[in-house]
Amino acid sequence: MTDPRTAVAAVVDPEIRVITIDELGILRAVDEDPATGRVVVTITPTYTGCPAMDVIRTDIRRALTVAGHPDAEVRTVYTPAWSTDWISAAGRAKLAAAGIAPPGPRGDGTAVPVTLAVRCPRCGSPETEQVSRFGSTACKALWRCRSCSEPFDHLKAL
């Protein structure tokens, strides 16, 4: 039987499959009742309309069942609201290695976001430009490198 925290932390994000939900910062808690063995997992969405949440809940329950914890419940909380600042250093490195530029520090959420230089995840050049403010998933924007011409995803600071 695997420790439930370890089992859940290894679940990968279904839309960005190089990073775990723990590294992405959406896994908030894993609590096991020592008396009953019941596991309660608490997660939070990146965006309110994130269509991956149902898959993530299913993947968590499957991982816990495989790890020997079939009695599990997944709860979703919205406060405090997820921020890209919660993505771990390991998670950021994995994003970059997969060609997705990790987010910079976020603003306070009320002002118009300031666009800082985004480095190309392929060649490292800061000579990049935004092609589209929205990308393949709710959490990404589409950018292009002017040095090596590579288009790439950028996880938007939130």
């Binding site: 969405p45 965006y47 309110t48 309309g49 994130c50 269509p51 909380v77 919205y78 406060t79 405090p80 609201a81 997820w82 959420g109 009320t110 002002a111 118009v112 976001p113 092609v131 589209s132 403010r133 929205f134 990308g135 393949s136 709710a138 589409l142 938007k156 939130l158």
Partner: protein
């Protein structure tokens, strides 16, 4: 509106109907990037709508969940503002509408984030970040269209002239609500005025101020929208993917 249920329902309906209208642009936007943008914004609105309608159902305590509220009410039971149900029109109409809506939703959700109701506060804190991005996006487009070619300026001004009367409804006073919409007017003006100025657009004079959405009295457009949105659920009650 009066009380937390009606207030939450109205906000949820605003977001739901806005999502449905924005979704109509899928595969029809003027360029690929904008197609993705509008679909993403629709998804954010839908996400907020689900949270708000789910909570409204709990507040009501009659056993209605988000699906029952979204799919099994008729137009007279919807509490959304008229602005969001108006047809998409051309791209300028869509972007001016999104500007007016998000310039209202940002101060609204910000105020909600500080209200005593913990559930509404959590929804507000989450949704305001997304709305800030919608506001930024629509403001960029309104500036580009207004201060663009003669044709884009003409269309942007026509869109503003058409939609401006409908924004007054958003700020109708409701002192009993968790957040009184009248208190959001200053935040709206502070954002919209500079955008219109930079876009070289003329703010219309206050004249006709249509309303009634919060009381369930809608334009003819809403029932057509609902017919399309609800048909599958009503034809196959309880169906699941």
């Amino acid at each position: 509106m009066n009380g937390p249920f009606d207030f939450t329902l109205a906000l949820g309906d605003d977001a739901l109907v806005a999502a449905q209208r924005l979704g109509e642009w899928a595969t029809r936007a003027p360029e690929m990037e904008e197609d993705i943008a509008l679909a993403n914004i629709a998804l954010d609105q839908l996400g907020a709508a689900r949270l708000l309608l789910s909570y409204a159902g709990e507040l009501e305590g009659a056993g209605r969940d988000e699906d029952a509220l979204a799919y099994l009410r008729d137009d007279r039971e919807f509490r959304n503002c008229l602005l969001v149900e108006l047809p998409n029109g051309d791209f300028a109409v869509t972007m001016v509408k999104l500007l007016l809506l998000s310039a209202y939703q940002v101060p609204l959700y910000t105020a909600l984030a500080g209200c005593p109701d913990e559930r509404l506060a959590a929804i507000g804190a989450k949704a305001r970040k997304e709305s800030a991005y919608h506001l930024d996006h629509s403001a960029l487009w309104v500036k580009r269209l207004g201060d663009g070619t003669d044709e884009s300026h003409r269309r942007a001004q026509a869109a503003l002239d058409q939609l401006w009367p409908y924004h007054h409804e958003l700020f109708a006073a409701d002192p009993a609500a968790p957040v009184d919409p009248a208190t959001l007017r200053a935040g709206f003006d502070a954002v919209v005025q500079p955008v219109l100025a930079e876009a070289t657009l003329t703010r219309p004079e206050t004249g006709w101020t249509p309303g009634g959405g919060r009381d369930g009295v809608h334009t003819e457009h809403l029932s057509f929208l609902l017919a399309e949105m609800q048909v599958l659920h009503r034809a196959h009650p309880g169906a699941r993917w």
